[in-house]
Symmetry: C2
């Protein structure tokens, strides 16, 4: 994996860059649609390419490990072959999902014991095993196994958790160095900065993560309930330490505003379930602002969902028709809104990139946030 | 509406023809995907055109009347404008749906009183009102308001019901003759033959329906639980009476076998929820036979769903991937299977047509039924 820093904004920390993987290039800043179980919910692979114009998608190690399982994934020749997506894939480490299973997991130095949410079966994720799993999945970018502490948590818990994450990282790096990719394409490991909302811990963690000298770095444990200001403050500290020459990935973020602020603070990669999850609930992000399609005002608005955004789904279907489908709980409502919202997110980061390259990102950002975050 | 009979098979009653509407041509025999609430469940309009290659779709008067309602449909300029499907549309009369509401409807000479299944609100469908509703929906082919008797029912019930359907038909014809289409394209009324599984009634009904001299004719009240042999027997009797110069539409049928037998008996048009409903349950009709994707045998079958059928969905996705999506209850499973099954149904009637035109339909039919109905 190669990262080329193409331009850094003069007024903010925003950057435009290019990541090159064996499955193709990714222009940054980038948003990565979440494909939990090897599918972005409600979206055909063809639509991801042609409508959403996604450049990289996410898979969840925890979900893929349980279903279809490693045996099927290996027989298929990896996730790219299994789901037919032949552009870059990033997999999370399963850490976040496993820690969400509050009642049915136990954290030890060795790793995490947990019960499957599907059938209650018992499993153990160690840093080594999670690396092996991601080798089998065959993602282009694989994430270190970390502990994501809850919010709020006290300094003592956050400190211990951070050190555990760091010890686990060393084991991840060792395992990756001792093993080979399975399908002929290279796999880059991204370690994850933790430290909750404590400045001293975030500094310590960012320094440790940077010292591991991996091809890219991630910031975890944010957007877990803390105020946005805290998130931005941590991000500023961490991005000031993580090397400029490598991509920075803010995990699980966020709203269009969060993403633009994250970009301004020097972040290059984002992922979030918000565009698809909110789509299924009838919330649409558009170039003109936010639409709740359940609102009665849309029932006789026969204008396209978002003419300016372009693409089939956003310009072919009307707001009134989408409102009708949503009211009738028709699958097509979720399909349309999911494709639309993802296209919007890719458009958003593309616009940010264009403005970074044009040199007017700092002026554009507040106007964009005001327009895009208003409720229509 | 115009119907051109292009060829009649020499060994069976099968026919190839062409229906011309103001929204384009329909080559018969044809299968019509069901778009209950103005959407074929899980299928984008673009997919209906490009993947399914549908020539005409169905809408349900009962559902569209309740949601989005006549006000919205009229403001939109009819269903074609509302859902963006600008090829032919046929609407049923709502009779079948209303009669399914067993506990909450009352049949009188005037019409049917019923309570909405959504909010319990009270409504009255009369033959005249149902014609007015279909004028507002703007379908190219509109169905007469009939009573669909349950199966089994006694001769006395079926006889009285048939006569009620005939009296209602006269009122439908009168209303249609007294009113104009709303959106500039013509609308053809199809009356419906009833009579349950009683030969004398079916003869009487077919003669009455034929005498009304409408642009096409339909056969209702079949595929409601009776043995397939009874259905075929009734169909043979009725098709022997309905004029050759007009299309014959067998409502709500059926399996691939039912459709081929129906074609052999001189039927031109079919509709059924089976391809989409069964798709959502993981049952796929393929050119090689029937697949239950829930079966364990598919979990490592990485071959395309149906290479021979062609189209993106059937050749891009593997059986193993579809099985995985189905197991995870991912929306995409229903989306893929729905597009696939509908494409199969359109392929099926297209093949039948090709063999009618080629003169070997009678030889092809039993081999096709054997192959297509086998469980893989």
């Amino acid at each position: 994996m190669k990262f080329e820093l193409q331009k850094t904004d003069s007024q903010t920390k925003a950057r435009a860059g290019k990541i090159t993987t064996d499955h193709g290039e990714i222009l940054t800043p980038i948003f990565m649609p979440v494909g939990t179980a090897g599918t972005v919910k409600g979206v055909h692979t063809k639509e991801l390419l042609e409508e959403v114009e996604a450049q990289i998608i996410l898979g969840n190690t925890y979900h893929l490990y349980l279903r279809p399982g490693l045996d099927i994934l290996e027989k298929a020749g990896g996730l790219h072959k299994f789901n037919g997506w032949d552009k870059p894939i990033l997999t999370d480490s399963g850490g976040y999902q496993v820690f969400s299973l509050k009642e049915i997991r136990k954290i030890t130095e060795e790793g995490v014991y947990f019960n499957s949410h599907i059938d209650g079966s018992k499993h153990l994720f160690t840093p080594e095993y999670v690396m092996d799993i991601q080798r089998v999945i065959g993602a282009d970018i694989i994430m270190a196994f970390d502990e994501c502490p809850p919010y709020p948590c006290d300094h003592e818990y956050a400190r211990k958790s951070m050190h555990l994450t760091h010890r686990w990282l060393k084991r991840c790096v060792k395992r990756i160095n001792e093993t080979e990719p399975k399908y002929g394409h290279s796999q880059a490991l991204f370690p994850i900065v933790q430290g909750s909302v404590f400045k001293d811990l975030r500094i310590q963690s960012a320094e440790f993560i940077a010292s591991q000298d991996q091809p890219g770095n991630a910031i975890g444990g944010l957007s877990v309930g803390e105020p946005a200001e805290d998130m931005y403050e941590m991000l500023e500290i961490v991005n000031g330490i993580l090397p400029e020459s490598k991509p920075r990935y803010l995990m699980g973020v966020g709203t269009p505003e969060n993403i633009l602020e994250g970009i301004a603070l020097g972040t290059d990669m984002f992922d979030c379930v918000m565009p698809t999850r909110n789509a299924r609930n009838g919330m649409l992000f558009t170039t003109q602002g936010i639409i709740n399609i359940r609102n009665k005002k849309w029932e006789d608005d026969f204008s396209p969902i978002d003419q300016e955004l372009g693409g089939y789904v956003s310009t072919f279907y009307s707001k009134a028709y989408l409102k009708h489908l949503n009211k009738c709980q028709e699958m097509l409502a979720a399909q349309i809104a999911s494709v639309h919202n993802l296209r919007f997110y890719l458009w958003l980061v593309g616009e940010a990139r264009n403005h970074i390259l044009a040199g007017d990102f700092a002026e554009w950002k507040p106007l964009a946030i005001k327009k895009l975050m208003q409720r229509l």
